[in-house]
């Protein structure tokens, strides 16, 4: 075990004079559920773009799924999955068409796509709506399908950017069951969220504050370290330390 699928060293990204991500260093192991938390504007999105080959770093090193993010961004993209709350599937395409589209994008053969499509529709219980447009489905169904589609090419790592934002509480938990399943199958899950209860479901968490990773560890370790009884409290202590001093 202990195979490192994400290795990041001193990774930095500047925009003009502004340092969005400031020398961050961390590693993630195969099959780990890694929670990537931080305040708005802390640099999470910038860091995620670099790790997914969408933005090149100003300096530092990053290896993801065995590929160098500077030199091999295209190979990298073939070996990772990505899903965001904002955009995941095409509303005007049907369920079946979306699966076909993403299968094609990731280079699956027609035969593979057809096979995968039937598997997914069965697993997610979506056979009855296979020819319905995505836009007509409840958000929870969409997000579950989007997650499965992000895994259609058997990636080593899947990046999830606020995947459960606005999703009802029952579906949110069903979504986490899918995350656990993926992790049990050896897929590494890199996830961001604003739900602090979800931070507890991760194997390890990092918390970014103004471009730096200020804390990293298991939920239990972080709560011990910050003498807090909840992740919510850990988060507040890290992001607004001045309030702690004032009280």
């Amino acid at each position: 075990m202990n195979e490192k699928v994400i290795q990041v060293k001193e990774l930095t990204r500047m925009f003009g004079d502004f340092t969005a991500v400031d020398h961050i260093t961390f590693e993630v192991e195969k099959g780990e559920i890694f929670g990537f938390l931080g305040a708005n504007g802390a640099g999470k999105t910038t860091a995620m773009k670099m790790l997914t080959g969408l933005l090149s770093p100003t300096s530092g090193e990053a290896n993801v799924a065995g590929f160098n993010v500077y030199k091999e961004p295209e190979k990298l993209k073939k070996n990772i999955g990505y899903m965001s709350q904002k955009f995941a599937l095409y509303d005007d395409l049907t369920v079946s068409e979306n699966i076909r589209f993403y299968g094609g994008i990731y280079g699956l053969s027609n035969k593979e796509i057809n096979q995968k499509r039937n598997e997914l529709l069965d697993e997610l219980d979506l056979q009855s709506v296979r020819d319905s447009r995505i836009g007509s489905l409840p958000l929870g169904w969409k997000q579950k399908l989007a997650f499965s589609v992000a895994l259609i090419h058997n990636p080593k790592i899947v990046f999830l950017d606020e995947p459960t934002s606005g999703v009802d509480p029952i579906t949110r938990r069903q979504f986490w069951n899918m995350i656990y399943e993926a992790s049990a199958n050896g897929i590494t899950v890199f996830v961001t969220t604003h739900y602090m209860d979800e931070a507890e479901y991760c194997d390890r968490i990092s918390i970014m504050v103004t471009g730096n990773i200020e804390a990293m560890g298991t939920p239990t370790e972080l709560k011990d370290q910050f003498k807090s009884d909840s992740m919510d409290d850990v988060f507040v202590k890290l992001v607004r330390p001045e309030q702690e001093d004032a009280s």
């Binding site: 305040a39 958000l139 029952i170």
Partner: protein, 305 residues
């Protein structure tokens, strides 16, 4: 007289019933929350209350004015902040604020007291274009613009969605300060934990209101005793409990799982042994206080039956 009064309100879009026969009243000075996921009908309801959408059936009255017939008069006294950032990105902070003030025949100076608390934080950037502001600053500007005509009722549609946990807390502090000035505030949110910041809440799902009460009373709608269960590996514990013969529900809830049982009298030791026998580590079972999210999920399940 209620500040907001809604009777048999329904609005459909094609085959979708966005808002389904809603009935409720909101009192003057209340901080009232509509809690529910995307697709619950929150935005449709807010747009009707804000006089921007006409209902198919029923009526909504705000300050005893009909949202359809008296919309012009009503708008003078209503502040509305939509979920999507809707200010002019190409105008500066100050220009946006001036624009909204002048639409209501007012000036920034005239109502500066109302917005002072919020506007002070962005005033140093008043020459900056609104589109160039950070998320938090945009939110403060949007709230300032919604308040610039000193309305009596403030409608905020998902002001905290996508906002980090700390900034959300601070936003609710701001709302409490506004409430103390006598404003009636109606907020929607998908974050269940924010329910506790409201005087009363309505839990919404699929166009319907499943319950309206104070956060404390809504939480008690969950009748069954909730047990917090801990053990590793967590996912295997969830799966094992699902196969427990007496299981009613089992859901992950932060550090603990929340478990409810079909029986009235539950033997904690029996559940503990059930898990220990399967070799789980760190097993802990205890009665816990249910949260608003437990109540919401129990109500959802009742509605789906």
């Amino acid at each position: 007289m209620a500040m907001i009064s809604v009777r048999n309100l329904t609005r459909t879009f094609g085959e979708i019933v966005a808002v389904n026969n809603l009935n409720f009243e909101i009192e003057k000075g209340e901080l009232f929350g509509f809690i529910g996921p995307d697709g619950a009908g929150k935005t449709t309801l807010f747009r009707i209350l804000a006089t921007l959408l006409i209902p198919d059936e029923g009526e909504a009255r705000v300050m005893d004015l009909d949202t359809v017939k008296d919309y012009k008069k009503l708008r003078q006294n209503l502040g509305y902040m939509p979920g999507k950032f809707s200010l002019y990105s190409d105008l500066s902070v100050e220009e946006n604020l001036n624009f909204f003030a002048s639409i209501f025949g007012s000036t920034i100076e005239e109502n500066y007291d109302t917005i002072k608390d919020i506007y002070e934080a962005i005033e140093p950037f008043k020459k900056r274009r609104a589109g160039k502001l950070s998320g938090g600053m945009k939110q403060k500007l949007a709230l300032s613009c919604a308040l610039i005509h000193s309305p009596d009722v403030l409608l905020l549609d998902e002001p905290t969605t996508g906002v980090d946990a700390v900034s959300r807390r601070e936003f609710w502090d701001t709302l409490n300060r506004l409430k103390s000035k006598g404003l009636t505030i109606v907020v929607s949110t998908p974050y269940m934990d924010e329910a506790n910041r409201c005087d009363r809440v309505a839990l919404m799902q699929k166009g319907s209101i499943m319950g309206i009460d104070t956060p404390e009373n809504v939480t008690e709608m969950k009748q069954k005793t909730v047990f917090g269960v801990k053990g590793t590996p967590r996912y295997q514990v969830i799966k094992a409990l699902r196969d427990y013969p007496q299981v009613d529900s089992v859901y992950a809830f932060g550090e603990y799982l929340h478990y409810t049982d079909k029986r009235e009298d539950v033997d904690i030791q029996e559940i503990r042994m059930f898990l220990l026998d399967q070799g789980f580590k760190g097993v802990e079972v205890k009665a816990v206080n249910p949260t608003i999210e437990d109540a919401f999920m129990a109500l959802m399940e009742q509605h789906d039956e």
